[in-house]
Point group: C2
Chain length 355, copies 2
Amino acid sequence: MVTRKEVARKAGVSVSVVSRAMNNSGYVEAEKKKRILEVADKLGYYPHPVAEALQKRRTKQLLFFCKDLRNSFYIDMYQGMVEAAGKRDYMMVFNGSMDFENIRNTMIDGIIMPNEVITRHYLDTVGKNYRLPVVSASYGSPVRFSRSVPRVEIDMEKVMELAVKELRANGHRRLALAMPYPFRCTDVRRLAFCSLMEEVYGDRMKDYYIGIHREDLAGDSRILAFLEEEERENGMRLLEEDFFGKGELAAQLFVERKIDATAVVAFNDEFALGMCKRFHALGIRVPRDISLIGIDGSSARKYQDPCLTSVGLFPEKQGAKCVNVLLDMLEGKKVKYISGSPVKLVKGESVKKLD
Amino acid sequence: MVTRKEVARKAGVSVSVVSRAMNNSGYVEAEKKKRILEVADKLGYYPHPVAEALQKRRTKQLLFFCKDLRNSFYIDMYQGMVEAAGKRDYMMVFNGSMDFENIRNTMIDGIIMPNEVITRHYLDTVGKNYRLPVVSASYGSPVRFSRSVPRVEIDMEKVMELAVKELRANGHRRLALAMPYPFRCTDVRRLAFCSLMEEVYGDRMKDYYIGIHREDLAGDSRILAFLEEEERENGMRLLEEDFFGKGELAAQLFVERKIDATAVVAFNDEFALGMCKRFHALGIRVPRDISLIGIDGSSARKYQDPCLTSVGLFPEKQGAKCVNVLLDMLEGKKVKYISGSPVKLVKGESVKKLD
DNA sequence: TTGAAAGCGCTAACAT
DNA sequence: ATGTTAGCGCTTTCAA
């Protein structure tokens, strides 16, 4: 392996001059610098990233702590991170294992957490005595952190507002919400929906809520396998979920319960796609018989025929912002405790205009 | 930051004893070892991964050099890698930039290339004077490497055989092949299909081949944008392709050319899904009016209604094998120059039984 | 069984 | 402007 020492010897200078020449830092005679660079090039010299990292105490790597890269939402987020990191000469690494302990023997300068729940869990365990900078992707959950961690937040209330507004603009009055969780969950979407629809439904709210309970899953072994894993994690929903499968189930429940809504807001696009498929299997066509709106604006929307209308969350932007906030922290800049990430209605053809 | 030095001081021993205690290597008095471990624990000591990497010349990181993590095939491959690597105490990192030069300042012990073309390109440029171990995912392309690099190969001829066999078993005789490339391409699928269908079609082969040419794309700005990027890469197809969009176009061409095939083998699942969507838009239903078989066995199959029949390529297995071969190399074990990765028909409902 | 010391490849303070 | 030197945190001879 070619080192600076060798370049220095061949160029007839000391290693520190080589260092300076390479990094354009400090003084070095123009003529000499040119020669050094030439020698380095001829020798095929490249700086050793590990040695540099040890010395500078900077690995130039950031961790995205996410278990479920199969979820297209997280993939998009990751993609955004990769791009933002690349622009600032950083690299994203990804840890497929849920093992917090593992973080400590990973060569990273900072961590991006995929949501508030995982962030809290981390801060309460390993993060307690490992003070690497952390940024959390965030969705308006009222989770408190044991130490100050910047959040890059998607305003889920606004998201729900956009969805409901779009449906109302198309003449829909009786809207249902379909979620992978029971009614008692405190998911921001659920809360926002309830507050938006309260004046319409009053105490009949639950009639227009489709939630997946453990019991509902009894017949579906594919989903059960996932749930069992969830259980192991003492109730926390950290693991990958089969949203598509749960969506199928939700459509089934919608029909069985003979809900008289003309439109459904679905938890996310995967969930909506699952609902679509089951609806069609039951002879109900979207949007002819029922309108459907998803949340995410994911690229999977296109698989739907006709294309799914959705509220776009632009996870790439959120991911990119997470990276930029984290790198700002590393550079010692002041960062905002909460920064927002944009959302926007993404039109498809799954909402019918009622007259 | 707590270092070994500090642990040593508090435990009243030297750093080398601490080192030995931590690594269970060399001699250290049982009593002392226990005390050292206790002290380390109390101090919240964790080994510094970068220092360890510098000393051991092992970063415990592997690079998957893949530009397009949005392609579900590569995601699945990556997932398989992450799992296999985790089991052997390694971490996968992923580089979203196509810049080979970048590889040299990344802290890795080895590289996995996503296909033969990129591997060759790498070996002919940066890889020439950077002799990090490389493993290539491979698909039976007759590409020669300038140095010996193990391949983990999916047998595309067999894949095509399985697809054709399935269609024939269901009574189909006139099969079409739909690809994102012109007929003159040397893609293994195309070659395999031709040799399988030669005795049926003779010189009418081209009548049953749907290929996407540059001209065909003229009307579709979404696809054009991708193509332009491809051009920049001097003709090599290294960048992400909009297979779905090209599939839609292929369905269009199929109809316009009034091809009288009863079944189509599609380049991959994304492509097949695109075809499905356009077919439906044109009033042609799968499998009622036309049968369709994909290649990949990807999870995106489920979005199709009815579910797409496909030849499963199990990219997670291929990815996992790539990792294991690479780590075997690093451990100095002998590895096979070519190892296979399994394929299997994955039944859906997109193939109709003809009588 | 232990500890001193050299060194992995690099940077940076300091003296020249 | 240049070179010497002392580390970064760890492993691993080697002498005691």
